[in-house]
């Protein structure tokens, strides 16, 4: 089910300095990961990314996910170690039309060898805060049994 991304996640995804990785699977379940600097959030609150290569495994896997309602995952890592995982389902790809052409021109301005395949729109379905300090705190509170005894030793 579609969710609304919080402002801090949107900000992190829109920040060009953030590191962003997209994980997809193919029709046989074989995973593929790829850095995707173009990942951002559009005005409708959906995740958007530009796929440059028509023949890439990512492009095939995004198509597969759109066709069969399969989930993809994005990891975004920003300043101070802030990290989120966002899951979502590709719902649309622009391969023509004014919006595609706008993105095409912008892409050429960044690098004249670019020739984009599509602008993918992913509907977010789940967000997890993966920032280490926060995940560690959460784990320690929820599962006090986990962890090594030497750290609990009275000094």
């Amino acid at each position: 089910m579609a969710i609304t991304l919080s402002e801090n996640v949107i900000e992190l995804l829109r920040n060009r300095e953030s590191k962003k990785v997209l994980a997809t699977v193919d029709k046989n379940g074989i995973p593929n990961v790829s850095f995707k600097g173009s990942i951002t959030v559009n005005e409708e609150g959906k995740i958007e990314l530009i796929e440059l290569l028509e023949t890439s495994q990512t492009n095939k896997n995004l198509t597969y996910s759109l066709w069969f309602d399969k989930t993809v995952a994005i990891s975004v890592w920003g300043e101070g170690g802030t990290e989120y995982e966002i899951k979502g389902i590709p719902r649309k790809v622009h391969i023509d039309g004014p919006y595609y052409e706008k993105k095409y021109v912008e892409s050429l301005e960044r690098n004249p060898i670019n020739d984009i395949s599509g602008v993918w729109i992913i509907e977010p379905t789940e967000v997890r805060n993966q920032t280490y300090a926060e995940r560690k705190k959460e784990q320690d509170e929820k599962y006090p049994i986990i962890g090594h005894l030497d750290k609990d030793r009275k000094l």
Binding site: K27, K60, I95, D96, E101, Y104, G118
Partner: protein
């Protein structure tokens, strides 16, 4: 007058049953295929929405279309970028049409109260209403798909010069006869084509390929010599527009012999070559395409495709078939199962020689105007079977895929 299939919903597996029967085939491709097979109309709301937007209308080209006052949709795009070419009022009166409705400012495919998929109509390119130096609207010289420019050499197919020799499913031949009666020149003006192409490709990101086609020209020292000459003449005008020797062009032409193929490739620089066999069965081909059978022959047509692989390279040659036309009556297959088996067997032989097969859904017209296209089940089994053959022989079809053509359910499946 179309042949209506009475109570067809009771006689055939419906789309929801086909979704269940083929879980490995994406629903969008099944829907696209069925919308093509049954055709579509617009609700009043959708008609109004279409008029409001910058959507492309049909144009006057080899395919018999005309820019008019009212917008006539030329094609649809689905969420996955897949196109549907034509389909508006196609196969009318045979089975019920789908209805494209407007809901919250967007277009949706609907049928019998069910809302299936959001779609959009093709946007009009910037050059479309500009005029050539001779005053012709460029959209009537070169027409377009979402990512492709199309132009033609001859609007007349000379297989139709001898009564009874035209391909029975075809309307291009009939349109050519009409054009001749109106004293419209058989050949397009290559200067106007070059001007229109040059203007069209100024729009950044709009076009990724050119498709060139032609009605067959039988004259010359050998059959098709004059056709090859005309294509070369057209490219003498078009080639200087580009900064490279090999051009992102697919030629859909007649089946040329090896000398003609080499001459054509060297002179034009085109990358992709298609010679449509149309009917993948010898007996059905000879009945349905008597002109092709007489002037070239079924086995020779295939041999020329194999020669083309040597000239253009593996992956750059394919052949189109009119999916389902092999079931035309009275001489076609009466059993869909037997028809499918026969077509896939031929497709496998072609693939063994490096030639892939792309099918289109049969749009009923021409001499076959009273025929009935087969079931949706047949079309999906055909798409699946052809895709499996392409994978088995490692034949990729980028020059005829969802982006560059969009008219072939089986090459759509090749995307993943």
């Amino acid at each position: 007058m179309a042949t209506k299939v009475e109570n067809w919903r009771e006689k055939e597996a419906g789309i929801d049953e086909i979704f269940e029967k083929y879980p490995e085939i994406p629903k969008i491709i099944i829907l696209k295929t069925d919308v093509h097979r049954r055709g579509y109309v617009l609700s009043e709301k959708a008609e109004r929405l279409l008029e409001e937007g910058n959507y492309q209308s049909e144009a006057d080209t080899i395919f018999g279309e005309k820019l008019g006052a009212k917008k006539i949709p030329i094609g649809l795009t689905f969420r996955d970028g897949t196109s549907l070419i034509g389909g508006y009022r196609s196969n009318e009166g045979i089975r019920d049409h789908y209805v494209i409705d407007a809901i919250d400012g967007k277009f949706y495919v609907t049928d019998n109260g069910n809302v299936y998929e959001e779609v959009d109509f093709w946007k009009e390119p910037d050059f479309y209403h500009k005029k050539t130096s001779k005053g012709t609207p460029m959209g009537e010289v070169v027409n377009v798909r979402p990512q492709r420019l199309n132009f033609a050499i001859s609007r007349v197919c000379h297989f139709w010069d001898t009564p009874g020799e035209g391909c029975k499913y075809c309307y291009v031949g009939i349109n050519g006869i009409e054009a001749t009666k109106k004293n419209i020149p058989a050949l397009y003006d290559y200067d106007e084509i070059a001007e229109s192409v040059a203007e069209a490709i100024k729009q950044q990101g709009r076009f990724s390929m050119i498709m060139v086609t032609t009605g067959s020209i039988l004259t010359g020292k050998k059959v098709f010599d004059d056709e090859v000459d005309e294509i070369i003449k057209a490219f003498e005008k078009v080639k200087p527009i580009f900064n490279r020797k090999d051009l992102k062009v697919q030629l859909i032409g007649s089946a040329y012999d090896k000398e003609q193929l080499i001459r054509l490739k060297e002179a034009t620089g085109i990358i992709g070559y298609t010679a449509d066999l149309e009917v993948a069965n010898k007996e059905a081909f000879e009945w349905i395409c008597p002109g092709k059978a007489k002037h070239v022959g079924y086995e020779e047509w295939k041999k020329r495709l194999y020669d083309a692989v040597e000239v253009f390279g593996r992956g750059n040659v394919n052949t189109g078939i009119v999916g389902g036309v092999e079931t035309a009556q009275p001489n076609g297959f009466s059993s869909e199962e037997e028809a499918l088996k026969a077509v896939l067997s031929e497709a496998e032989e072609l693939a063994q020689h490096g030639v892939s097969v792309a099918y289109i859904v049969w749009g009923i017209c021409g001499i076959f105007k009273d025929q009935v296209p087969p079931s949706l089940d047949y079309y999906i089994a055909l798409a699946k079977g052809l895709d499996e053959i392409s994978r088995k022989y490692g034949l990729e079809a980028y020059f005829d895929d969802y982006r560059r053509c969009g008219n072939h359910p089986n090459t759509d499946l090749g995307r993943i």
